[in-house]
């Protein structure tokens, strides 16, 4: 992608986010039950439901509710969570930062492990080392996360080892050491899942580049192999890896509900599942929008970086 296309890409992203909001609203609205049934539980009587719906504004026509939400978001007001009865903005902001921290640390760890392994596997393709790395990667993608999480807790968080806190979250501001300690196990679980995937993508990308004319030319020019590998080949192969990382960021922001539940980590994934289960439409909308924005932005950044790294693409 040439950088000149950037404004258009941003516009496309915004259009997608708008479509996303409508889809989420319609889907959530169509679900049986509403916030009033969720709030009242077994205390629900027809009269109480009617009274609560009136108080929460759930008796208004759906398009009006959507317009109300949209108007708020466009002016920076994320509205009020129906079931928590608190402004959604601060709740989401906190969860967003938590999820972002977990995601970035995980991505850093996964990349630090996967990229070197992927490069080595590609360079020595067909060797026993390559086979070992590939085989190990299959183990990573085949263990369900809700087995991996408890196993890590039982191995590392309880006596005799008791190396790390089992679960929970400590704010960085309150205690940087506590913050890191609490991140170790969830990051480890997620890194196992991501590394496998990322490693294989890096290997594929690297193999593609190594077979390309571009690298062949470099070799023909008589450049030392190490320079060809690390300066020319990896630089280009990283484009693929970056695209995968961008997708992973989106995944880590919203899809790791189970890891967040197991490690009692207050992230966006648990929040959106809570919101869906309780039919808290403003909260579902807000969180989906935030996750969507991260997804769109991450892909955009990955594309730009790809364009800057890969000379083949930078040329118009």
């Amino acid at each position: 992608m040439a950088l000149a296309l950037l404004p258009r890409r941003i516009f496309y992203g915004l259009v997608s986010l708008a479509i996303l909001s409508v889809i989420i609203f319609v889907c959530t609205h169509l679900l049986p039950g509403d916030a009033a049934t969720a709030i009242l539980g077994e205390g629900a009587t027809p009269a109480a439901l009617a009274a609560l719906r009136a108080r929460l504004g759930l008796d208004q026509p759906a398009p009006l509710q959507f317009a109300h939400w949209l108007g708020g978001v466009l002016t920076g007001d994320f509205g009020v969570s129906t079931t928590l009865n608190q402004p959604a903005g601060p709740i989401i902001a906190e969860r967003f930062l938590n999820s972002m921290a977990l995601a970035l640390v995980t991505i850093f760890c996964a990349a630090a492990i996967a990229i070197p392994l992927g490069v080595v596997a590609a360079v020595r393709r067909g060797s026993r080392l390559d086979g070992t790395i590939l085989t190990a990667s299959y183990v990573g993608i085949s263990i369900p996360d809700f087995v991996l999480g408890p196993v890590l807790i039982l191995l590392f968080a309880v006596p005799p080892l008791a190396l790390f806190p089992s679960s929970g979250f400590v704010a960085f501001a309150a205690s940087p050491a506590g913050w890191i300690a609490h991140l170790v196990l969830p990051v480890a679980a997620l890194t196992v899942v991501l590394t496998a995937h990322l490693m294989r993508q890096t290997r594929s990308g690297m193999l593609d580049v190594l077979n390309s004319d571009y690298v062949r030319t470099a070799r023909l020019k008589g450049l030392p192999e190490r320079l060809v590998l690390w300066r020319h080949a990896l630089r280009n192969a990283l484009g693929t890896t970056l695209a995968v990382l961008a997708l992973d960021l989106g995944y880590l922001m919203g899809s790791i509900v189970i890891i967040e539940e197991i490690f009692a980590y207050p992230g966006l994934g648990r929040l959106i599942v809570y919101a869906v289960a309780n039919r808290d439409i403003p909260l579902v909308e807000d969180v989906a929008l935030v996750i969507g924005t991260v997804y769109v932005a991450a892909n955009l950044v990955a594309d730009i970086a790809h364009a800057m790294l890969d000379p083949r693409l930078a040329r118009p």
Partner: protein
């Protein structure tokens, strides 16, 4: 390995229905609270792990146990339940009914202050109760307060409750979680009550992250001098049982406020952890609509009852941490539990015979809906299904999202389902809710039957009578009728399960596991919460 706390005698109602048969040792609450530990030492932070949702701190709108576990430390009620199942004044110094039973008068303690410094007056009580009774509030547990017609401030510290019909249980009903006393100012700011409490309780809110944690600090102006002992109280939501157990083992938390049956054995095995269980009144009821086939035929309901092996079911559903039940909702945790009622034995031959008489000799299929929350409902359904299959009744289980269940199935009269109820302060609260069309929801559509009408009349009588022996007679009869003819299968009650390190003293292990009042609790010097 430390054994679970063993308490020598089942003093209360020794070897009553089911108590002796589960093979577990049942700790009695008032014994638990009275172990000699020496002088209570103030100070330190207690961290308690909880399970699942904690959405709001508004006591009037709360429906989850965790919400009540939090609010009972931020607020007080007019009355509170004692460990023995009785009731005593909390914010009320004294209370008495009028001679004809048409009203109750409560006199408030003097010198009680809300967290904002304002003094408790009768006006605060009136504002709170009126807010609960106001239909526009849609308070979920309004009906369980009883037939309150009006509430009046007689003077600054006297409140009179005028009743629509005599109600002997009013003091106990006012101890329920929904009736915590909020200041007039708090009621005026009702929309913010979810996160900004206005209470008189032993702790003051410091920090609240919904569904994650609640941090409270000692209320230095608490009206019970010297209480609470703890400087800080932190409630943490840990939604995964493995993590919960690990957190306790690691001493990241000092106690678990609602232990899942699956982790109890593991917790009991940790040296230095007290795993305590108290007979509770929580149950899951399979609803058999008595106004529609096939369960409108009393013989079919009886056949199903006879197919149940209640002891085996209790062991399987509760993991041995419960007591068998006889299809009615009054457990040994209630004052008027009928201990003479013999547990119904499984009798498959008689069950098949009854089915045949009812014209279902070849059995039948029936839809059974289960909500995904709490998970114990699914266990009840699976085990009931296996028992029923023995006599040819094939339940087809449908497991669904809780909100869909709430909106389309629960109390809608469209399909059998597994309901879930917690322990109530009074027999009347749960009986009215389940069986009365007038005060409750008549969940089994049974109030129209002969037996149902009789029970409805008995419920009405039970509300008005104050004499204990007379009430016992009434509630005994209700238990007999509902057990023989009622519209539910209730195979067991769940024990209330707790776990705490031995350095936590005076842990409130009550039958009603949501009243987790920690004002009397304190920590030994070795507690991690004292070192930080």
């Amino acid at each position: 390995m430390a054994p679970p706390r063993v308490v020598p005698a089942l003093t209360r109602r020794a070897f009553g229905r089911g108590l002796a048969t589960t093979g577990t040792v049942l700790a009695m609450p008032w014994v638990l609270g009275r172990r000699a530990y020496g002088e209570a030492k103030p100070g330190g932070q207690l961290t308690v792990a909880l399970y699942k949702d904690l959405r709001t701190l508004n006591p009037i709108m709360g429906i989850f146990g965790n919400e009540w576990r939090a609010t009972c430390n931020l607020y007080n009620n007019l009355t509170r339940l004692t460990a023995k199942g009785g009731v005593e004044g909390d914010l009320a110094e004294s209370y008495a009914p009028s001679a004809n039973g048409a009203s109750w008068t409560f006199t408030l303690r003097q010198g009680v202050k809300f967290h904002d410094g304002s003094a408790l007056t009768a006006a605060d009580v009136v504002a709170t109760i009126e807010k609960i009774l106001d239909p526009a509030t849609a308070a979920p547990y309004k009906a369980e307060l009883g037939p309150i017609a009006a509430v009046k401030a007689v003077d600054g510290r006297t409140v009179r409750f005028d009743l629509a019909s005599p109600y002997a249980d009013l003091p106990k009903a006012l101890a329920s979680a929904t009736a915590r006393i909020v200041s007039e100012r708090g009621i005026a700011d009702f929309a913010k009550l979810d996160s900004a409490p206005h209470g008189t309780g032993p702790f003051i809110l410091k920090e609240f992250a919904p569904n994650d944690h609640v941090l409270m600090e000692r209320n230095p102006n608490y009206f019970r001098t010297g209480r609470p002992y703890l400087d800080r109280l932190l409630l943490r939501v840990l939604p995964d049982t493995t993590a919960q157990v690990a957190a306790l083992e690691n001493r990241e938390v000092d106690a678990i406020g609602d232990v899942e049956a699956d982790s109890f054995a593991r917790l009991s095995a940790i040296k230095g952890v007290d795993a305590a269980q108290v007979v509770g009144g929580t149950f899951n009821n399979l609803v058999l609509y008595a106004n529609q086939p096939p369960f409108d035929d009393e013989r079919v309901r009886m056949a199903l009852r006879l197919a149940m092996d209640r002891e085996q079911m209790t062991a399987a559903i509760t993991g041995g941490l419960g007591t068998p039940a006889d299809d009615e909702p009054i457990s040994a945790a209630y004052e008027y539990f009928d201990k003479t009622l013999a547990l119904r034995k499984q009798d498959l031959a008689k069950a098949r015979e009854l089915l045949k008489q009812a014209g279902h000799g070849n059995g039948f299929e029936h839809r059974l809906v289960v909500s995904n929350s709490p998970a114990s409902r699914e266990k009840t359904a699976v085990v009931v299904q296996a028992m029923a299959a023995q006599i040819g009744i094939q339940f087809k289980i449908e497991l669904m999202d809780n909100a869909r269940y709430g909106a389309t199935i629960w109390n809608k009269g469209v399909a059998s389902y597994v309901g879930n109820y917690g322990t109530r302060p009074t027999e009347d609260a749960i009986l009215s809710k389940l069986y009365s069309a007038k005060y409750g929801i008549d969940e089994g559509r049974w109030a129209g039957t002969e037996a149902g009408k009789r029970v409805e009349a008995l419920i009405e009588q039970g509300r008005a009578v104050t004499d204990s022996a007379a009430r016992r007679k009434i509630y005994d009869e209700i238990q007999r009728i509902t057990s023989d003819d009622g519209p539910f299968i209730i195979p067991n009650f769940f024990n209330s399960l707790y776990a705490s390190w031995t350095y936590v003293h005076e842990w409130p292990a009550l039958a009603i596991n949501t009243e987790m009042r920690l004002e009397e609790s304190w920590l030994s010097p070795e507690a991690p919460g004292r070192k930080a």
